[in-house]
């Protein structure tokens, strides 16, 4: 790993911040503090971190129902994220969206999405807009293996390919789509093979190795920026937690989950960093403590924030009028 220590530690920090956000979200949900559904990104942190490390601030991403990690990696404000999970007015969506609809257009996050595959056409559209405007921005669409079975996936890849749009499709293959295994719902071993059908590069990589992810993404991002067109990256990982917090997980063996814990991306990267003397115990402890403190402060911020007023439900549909009362 011939990268500067700062760069490597930043990757590590981002992963640790995502992990701690998720640990807290899980705890709060189980305590009955948070309404709605929560889908955790635990064990998949390397993907958002590695890919987004090579994005610019003015690049775009689309995300999914499992979107906290993408948001944090793209530079979202943790206080506003937590406030949204609580449904408070200071949240990213003023309490109107919740976990599954977090977005910050100002930092290029075009939204989490409650509809599987829903983000892909949006990413394609952003790519189309960039192409029309002739800038060198790019778009990354994150989505799950389950989403690669939707019509939206196939239509999006073809569309992006024929117009040579600057879109990097990143499929996070975590071996499950809710209760279904990828094996039983997908006809091929590597989802990246589907790229062949659309004449774009497709590559399968270890989704738990942040450096490999970074390097692969960097190459595909460069290609897209230089008008080389779209590509499909499949990052293979494992969904360590249930589909949502509270999932009874009747569909898998707990032993399998334990095995995958041993290969989780933070521990894996940490080992490398320690081996290469880029990270010592004191630094490590500080990074974790800082992250925990940041999240705890976010919880305090969220809890102290006001709950919305009834009338707030009737705003934001259209720009200049309320839109609800006719």
């Amino acid at each position: 790993m011939s990268y500067p220590k700062d760069f490597l530690l930043n990757l590590y920090k981002t992963m640790v911040r995502i992990r701690n956000f998720e640990i807290m979200a899980e705890k709060l949900f189980l305590e009955g503090e948070l309404p709605g559904f929560i889908h955790l990104y635990i064990g998949e942190e390397a993907i958002a971190t590695g890919v987004i490390a090579d994005l610019r601030k003015d690049d775009f991403i689309t995300s999914t129902h499992r979107g906290h990690g993408h948001m944090i990696a793209k530079g979202a404000n943790i206080n506003r994220m937590m406030a949204e999970l609580y449904g408070r007015t200071t949240g990213y969506c003023k309490g109107k969206g919740g976990s599954m609809h977090i977005a910050d257009f100002s930092i290029g996050v075009l939204g989490a999405n409650g509809v599987v595959g829903g983000g892909l056409p949006i990413a394609v559209g952003a790519g189309l807009g960039i192409k029309m405007k002739k800038t060198d921005q790019v778009v990354v669409a994150f989505f799950g293996d389950g989403a690669s079975n939707t019509g939206a996936f196939h239509e999006s890849l073809n569309f992006a390919s024929i117009y040579k749009l600057p879109v990097i499709f990143v499929v996070e293959n975590n071996k499950f789509a809710s209760t279904a295994t990828t094996k039983e719902t997908t006809s091929i071993e590597n989802i990246s093979d589907r790229a062949v059908g659309y004449g774009i590069p497709g590559i399968t990589i270890d989704g738990n190795d942040v450096i490999t992810i970074y390097e692969t993404a960097k190459e595909m991002i460069k290609r897209a920026r230089e008008d080389g067109g779209p590509s499909l990256i499949e990052a293979k990982t494992y969904r360590i937690k249930g589909h949502f917090v509270g999932d009874p997980e009747l569909y898998r063996d707990k032993k399998e989950v334990e095995e995958f814990w041993l290969n989780e991306p933070i521990r894996k990267f940490e080992k490398k960093l320690v081996e290469e003397k880029m990270l010592n115990e004191t630094e490590k402890r500080k990074i974790w403590e800082d992250a925990q403190k940041e999240i705890e402060e976010a919880v305090t911020f969220a809890k102290e924030s006001p709950v919305p007023n009834n009338e707030d439900a009737l705003t934001d549909l259209f720009v200049n009028d309320s839109g609800y009362d006719y």
Binding site: G36, F37, G95, N149, A180, T185, T186, P308
Partner: protein, 323 residues
């Protein structure tokens, strides 16, 4: 009679018909291994392993394949997972299932059933809370059933599975766990026959699904003020029991229509319009509709409560028509 839950009654209807009819099979997302996200198929877990299976997330083909399977003689039951996701495969229903028999001059029998949850639950927000039954009343070609009790769902699902036309069934998420009396003997409920859930003389409340329970609660409160409401559960939207509604209006001379879906152009508008076309002379006051405020469903619990109609809104509406 014994008490069972709404989900158990659904499971019984499906399982009894599957025993009898080998052409019935059922598929969709997350049903076979975990019994459905809201437990609709819990009582079917482990039964009919060859005939209950999970699919990829491919809605257009999940719904559309039901049509193909019906045309070759099978009776598919397709779970749509969340009513919201019907929109991701809607052409299979509105452009294919609803039209193919008519377009081909009456060829084929589309004995298929699409079923799944709709409505609000605990802050599921804008893309997981919708009730979109009105769309299937507006676009001709599919029968629409929306049961509110364990008794009704069992009888209606049985009728759907014995019939030869496409049926879509909406099951409100908050109903799966409610209990009710269901006979052990075989029975069916015909489509198009409303059920008077409570008799009354002062005002008619026409409703369906979870709002039946809100309406009954409203009626109970209104009794305290000597207002006697009649609560009519349509049970099926296509066809809907116009006669029973008009009969009731002739008796009470006042009508409120209550549904959870948006007030604007919700099915209440259709009922209202037909009643004023055919029974205006019997009405003593304008008909009032109760429905959700015309915005997508917000996430925060306070906002969800504000947007969603409940028994208090029904009480207000009743008082307004009686004023």
């Amino acid at each position: 009679m014994r008490e069972i839950t709404f989900a158990e009654a659904l499971g019984e209807a499906i399982s009894e018909e599957m025993e009898k009819d080998p052409t019935i099979f059922t598929y969709g997302e997350d049903i076979a291994k975990q019994g459905g996200i809201f437990g609709a198929y819990k009582s079917l877990l482990g039964k009919f392993p060859e005939r209950i299976f999970d699919t990829p997330i491919s809605e257009e083909v999940i719904y559309g394949s039901a049509l193909g399977a019906a045309l070759v003689g099978m009776r598919p039951i397709v779970e749509f997972h969340f009513a919201d996701f019907l929109f991701t495969g809607i052409q299979s229903i509105t452009l294919q299932i609803e039209k193919i028999r008519y377009m081909t001059g009456g060829q084929g029998k589309l004995h298929l059933l699409l079923r799944g949850p709709d409505g609000i639950s605990n802050s599921a927000a804008a893309q997981h809370s919708e009730s979109i039954e009105t769309i299937f009343m507006h676009t001709p070609g599919i029968k629409v059933i929306i049961p509110s009790t364990p008794y009704d769902i069992k009888g209606l699902i049985k009728t759907a599975l014995k019939g030869d036309d496409p049926v879509i069934c909406f099951e409100h998420k908050m109903l799966y766990k409610i209990k009710g009396l269901v006979p052990e003997e075989e029975y069916t409920i015909p489509l198009g026959v409303a059920d008077i859930k409570k008799e009354g003389n002062d005002v008619t409340i026409v409703t369906m699904s979870h709002m039946v329970h809100e309406s009954l609660k409203a009626a109970e409160e209104l009794e305290k003020e000597d207002i006697c409401a009649e609560v009519i559960d349509l049970r099926t939207l296509v066809p809907w029991d116009k006669n029973k509604v008009i009969e009731s209006v002739k008796k009470t001379n006042h009508l409120v229509v209550a549904h959870e879906t948006w007030k604007r152009a919700g099915w209440g508008a259709e009922i209202t319009s037909v009643v004023q076309e055919e029974a205006l002379d019997y009405l003593d006051a304008p008909i009032i509709r109760v429905g959700a405020k015309n915005v997508p469903m917000p996430f925060a619990p306070q906002l969800q409560d504000f947007v969603t109609p409940n028994y208090k809104d029904i009480i207000d509406a009743v008082k307004k028509v009686l004023r």
